[in-house]
């Protein structure tokens, strides 16, 4: 679709500045390379400090001793990693980042290491490579094995007499799986919520379709199945909230967390950079325009005075008296509003007033998207007013004619739908900026 409806008051994603994994990988590789060079250099033939060849020999001896157990531990860790990846094929990266995934990998690695040490101590001296393989893979297989001692004839297997060596590990594995799933569910919920806040149902449907088609790993059958899921969700009988949540989940499951993060980042609207400080007169004007009601403005002023902690009770009393005098002065309304606005700025400060104005102004995202502008047009104008509004925006006979025809009473359609169509037409033909500019006098009056 051409435009994606954007969010209203969505918290910006927190961007963490962290050193990329590639930097650490390069550093580790460089360190290992330097270590390898140091170990293989014929230092005894070189004129170096006497402690250097000694260190080399000690390191070589050390590596010869810890090499096998390191390999065994690595093999155990690989088995644990494989288990997690195969259990959570849709979210492998996210699953591996969870705390319980680390525990599972650690347990597998430790168990393999301990098995190797026990074998080294109690088994007969054997080929070290065989011992490494036996401990690294054999032990892992053993703790996951169930031996059937007596099998029921023609039975389903439930009544077999068996020795399940992996029972304890099964329990631990189930616990880990549940905990990882819970952690993932929290992340998924957060991602789905953001998608729901940011996108309307048509946008979610269209993004879902695009995501399904864009994934190179899906087979044509899988593609078709997911498209059917999306189509089913669009059917009128499916409740809208449920349909939206399911679409968001499908996008997450199909595209992955990184894709969703990318989507959310792409739809962020950059906030304008602060320009030069505004003059006090301009702020007063904005404040007075924002709160045209004298009552509202004087209430805000009174609250501002009361809430300032840097004012003494006497100062507060004096300013409240000033406010009362201003309100009761009987001066022209413009003068009174400007004076109260000035009192608010003097009491609260420029930053406070900026905050006050920004919190009451429509958010940037709310005002800038075509969908939101369409809704505002529909809410602000009647059908006939929209025709008049169009004539203030453009002289184009084509546009005016179309709007006039669209606004004619029609038994096939209600007024709200006519207004929505005209609003879309204006935004589509004239652009968001032109329409918003045309609306300004209405919004501030």
């Amino acid at each position: 679709m051409d435009t994606i409806p954007l969010p209203v008051n969505i918290p910006k994603p927190v961007k963490k500045t962290r050193r990329g994994p590639s930097v650490w990988t390069v550093l580790i590789v460089l360190f290992l390379l330097a270590l390898a060079i140091f170990l293989v250099l014929p230092l005894e033939d070189m004129s170096v400090q006497t402690w250097v060849p000694t260190l080399q020999v000690q390191l070589l001896t050390g590596f010869t001793q810890i090499g096998p157990i390191t390999i065994v531990i690595l093999l155990g860790a690989i088995v644990g990693l494989t288990e997690i990846i195969s259990t959570f094929p849709n979210y492998p990266r996210e699953a591996l980042r969870t705390r319980w995934a680390h525990i599972l990998v650690l347990v597998n690695a430790s168990a393999a290491g301990i098995a190797y040490l026990i074998a080294l101590k109690y088994a007969k001296p054997t080929n070290p490579i065989l011992l490494v393989i036996a401990a690294g893979f054999g032990f892992q297989a053993l703790i996951r094995t169930r031996f059937t001692l007596a099998k029921q004839i023609g039975g389903s297997g439930e009544e077999d007499v068996s020795l399940n060596l992996g029972w304890l590990y099964d329990q631990f594995q189930n616990l880990s799986k549940t905990q990882i799933d819970l952690e993932l569910m929290n992340d998924r919920q957060s991602a789905v919520n953001k998608l729901l806040q940011r996108f309307s149902m048509d946008a979610l449907y269209n993004i879902g379709m695009h995501t399904v088609l864009a994934r190179a790993t899906l087979t044509p059958e899988e593609e078709k199945k997911k498209q059917t899921e999306l189509d089913e969700l669009l059917k009128p009988k499916v409740p809208e909230d449920f349909a939206k949540a399911s679409m968001a989940l499908l996008i997450l499951e199909t595209g992955g967390q990184a894709y969703v993060d990318f989507l959310l980042e792409q739809t962020e609207i950059a906030l304008p950079k602060p320009t030069k400080p505004e003059s006090a007169a301009a702020t007063i004007t904005r404040l007075a325009q924002r709160y045209p009601s004298l009552q509202d403005l004087s209430n805000i002023c009174a609250y501002t005075i009361q809430s300032r902690s840097n004012l003494t009770p006497e100062e507060k009393e004096a300013r409240l008296a000033d406010l009362e005098q201003l309100v009761n002065l009987g001066a022209p309304a413009d003068f009174t509003r400007a004076s109260i606005a000035q009192l608010i700025i003097e009491t609260g400060g420029q930053d406070y007033v900026n905050l006050l104005l920004s919190s009451t102004e429509p958010s940037l995202t709310e005002s800038a998207t075509p969908e939101n502008v369409v809704k505002r047009l529909v809410d602000t104008y009647s059908r006939d007013e929209l025709v008049n509004f169009t004539s203030t925006l453009t002289d184009s006979a084509d546009i005016l004619n179309w709007v006039k025809k669209a606004a004619k009473p029609d038994p096939n359609i209600n007024e709200a739908n006519q207004k929505a169509a005209i609003a879309h037409f204006l935004v589509y033909r004239l652009g968001v900026d032109t329409v918003l500019k045309g609306m300004e006098p209405t919004q501030t009056s």
């Binding site: 269209n206 498209q227 006519q418 207004k419 169509a421």
Partner: protein
């Protein structure tokens, strides 16, 4: 739902082409994009719903409270056909 043999008018062809190109949208936006008047657009859509080309559903986020999209059958047909014209 099966698509019936159906002779599409130029306007219907245009509506379906926009939906195929841009995806789901509100009928009012469809009207604005095709330049077909809103009353006529709704009428066309009702006919297309009856013949299994599109689905219309409620959507509280849309300015006109509705959402329209192609049916899977229509989408499949569009993918395998260079034109929307269906021979009777």
């Amino acid at each position: 739902m099966q698509i019936k043999n159906f002779q599409l008018s130029e306007d219907e062809n245009q509506v379906l082409s926009v939906l195929a190109r841009s995806g789901a949208m509100s009928p009012s936006r469809l009207s604005a994009e095709t330049l077909i008047l809103p009353g006529k657009t709704l009428e066309l859509l009702k006919g297309l719903v009856e013949n299994g080309f599109v689905v219309i559903r409620d959507s509280k986020e849309s300015a006109d409270g509705m959402l329209v999209a192609l049916t899977p059958e229509a989408r499949d047909f569009f993918e395998f056909s260079s034109t929307w014209q269906v021979k009777r």
